[in-house]
Symmetry: C2
Subunit: 322 residues, 2 copies
């Protein structure tokens, strides 16, 4: 069993032991439900791998990993209410299975429980975490708000979009890596490089998600074209609007807001994207992010000789082999 697999299994069994058996069950059952939906557990695995890469031996590492996974699931839970999402990982979302009130309150409790765990690790390990965690959490809220605001705006720039995905998605990955390395006793400067490394990789992953939502292989079971159907202001859309001529803009505008002929809409919008070459442009931009991450990784080889266990995992994520 490889180190990545071992870490995933160790984390999984730790998480299972954390099931909330407290009262009122109506508050805690949805929390257990959300965590049990599965997924790749990318954030806690990153925390553990960064710790491993730094040669760490902290007894708090799994607790920290779990805290960040709990936070991530809190954001999913509340985002699903805000987006009226009906399913999450093939199962009904909490506000569908229970109701909106339950989803809001259980989410609140998840955020509070996250803070309890972060505070415990801070007290027990002697490393400061709380302040940075809360700054990150606040920025995640800002990212989510910007994402919602973009839906009602026609003038979103690529810079704004990149800043939104940095906050909404990338910095939690960056913090997961940074905190894991901190528990391993890695020096502060290297922690900052790791944070930038995680941010670049995270931005790259989100762009890849956007790319695959439109250009992915539907044989993996994922519905293709969701972003186009929902008229989401993705990198592809913003770039296309930048490059489109009057005729192409008119076609895009005509499809905007329609939902009667879904397949035709996806085909038409994607054709314009492809004609404008935004598929290649996003691939290039994505590559830039991953190359920047690679450079940062190489710069840390002296401080973290074992960084390969972390970068291998991120590379596999980038190639979607995990």
């Amino acid at each position: 069993m490889g180190i990545q697999e071992k870490i995933f299994k160790d984390y999984q069994s730790f998480e299972l032991q954390q099931r909330y058996l407290k009262d009122p069950q109506t508050l805690y059952e949805p929390i257990n439900y959300v965590l049990a939906l599965g997924g790749k557990k990318v954030r806690p695995v990153l925390t553990c791998l960064a710790h491993e890469a730094g040669g760490g031996t902290s007894s708090n590492i799994l607790k920290m990993a779990y805290a960040l996974e709990l936070f991530h699931n809190f954001t999913l839970l509340h985002d699903d209410v805000m987006d009226h999402a009906e399913q999450r990982r093939g199962k009904p979302t909490v506000h569908k299975k229970w109701d909106v009130a339950t989803a809001i309150l259980s989410g609140d409790e998840m955020l509070i429980q996250t803070c309890i765990l972060i505070n415990e690790v801070e007290q027990e390990s002697g490393h400061a975490f709380m302040s940075e965690f809360l700054t990150m959490a606040s920025e995640v809220c800002q990212g989510q708000q910007s994402d919602m605001d973009f839906e009602n705006r026609d003038n979103v720039t690529l810079d704004e979009y990149m800043e939104m995905i940095r906050k909404k998605t990338a910095i939690l990955l960056a913090v997961a890596i940074k905190f894991g390395s901190r528990l391993a006793g890695i020096d502060g400067d290297t922690q900052e490089v790791l944070y930038d490394y995680g941010t670049s990789a995270g931005v790259g992953f989100q762009m890849m998600d956007d790319y695959l939502d439109t250009y992915g292989d539907s044989s993996f079971g994922k519905r293709i074209g969701g972003d186009i159907l929902e008229d989401k202001k993705t990198w592809l859309y913003i770039k296309a609007m930048e490059l489109a001529n009057a005729g192409q803009k008119a076609v895009l505008a005509n499809w905007h807001g329609t939902s009667t002929n879904e397949e035709a809409k996806i085909d038409a919008v994607r054709s314009i994207y492809t004609d404008l070459g935004v598929d290649k442009l996003i691939a290039k931009e994505m590559e830039k992010q991953f190359e920047h991450a690679d450079q940062l990784m190489l710069s840390m080889k002296n401080q973290m000789p074992n960084i390969g266990v972390l970068s291998d995992y991120l590379n596999r994520l980038a190639k979607r082999t995990i």
Copy 2:
């Protein structure tokens, strides 16, 4: 100007300076809106009065007071979404003025900002606050969940009800007093007594709220009978169901869930309450809570000679002269 008035004014001007001017405005505007709705600012005033009663000179006192008011407003914001409330202090609730997504996310950010402030005070003052604050916050969620659960249950006991209002309402008042005294350097044992003092007073206030909702004077402008119309499982209702004979139970059951003749429903249910004497029983129980609080207050006279500034305020709250 009396000390209570001075503290209220000092707090008010501190709060005004805290207005969030950050981006995205769509996230922070609702927070400013909620705080500006006014109110008696009972929690921050209690924090400051407990600090004053302990002869405190902490430069962090207003920040702590503000943090607890922010937390309180976070709970109001999310509770209003859960309860589908349309108004708060005569103004539209956040989910009515904006939308549900905004109310959820701004509330989340308020909770995060609360934790940031509590953490800052902990770091700056050298006193531990975070862990106790988070335990209290989690219990408030439990209280809110129980309150919602009670609506779907027919077998709620008075003990369960008392535990629910302790968690949902009283312990935040208790923590407000305790934290204010801690910043004044009051010893740990006395802090615990102050916590019990605040809890008893808080439970008393909530029972008074329940009493006045049914038996209050409508000339103050507050709608009377709301709890009856909403079939809320209040102390009055639970006690009445305990004492009612078969005929009275049948009448209560008949009105339950109806909304066609509001005034008749209020009159009929209140008549049964009065016939059973539950109005007098709740007054007696309330008095017990306030007497217990008074005894605790007297027991602290040696440790806190100036406790009168705090107890005067609580007594005035109990008599509704504030």
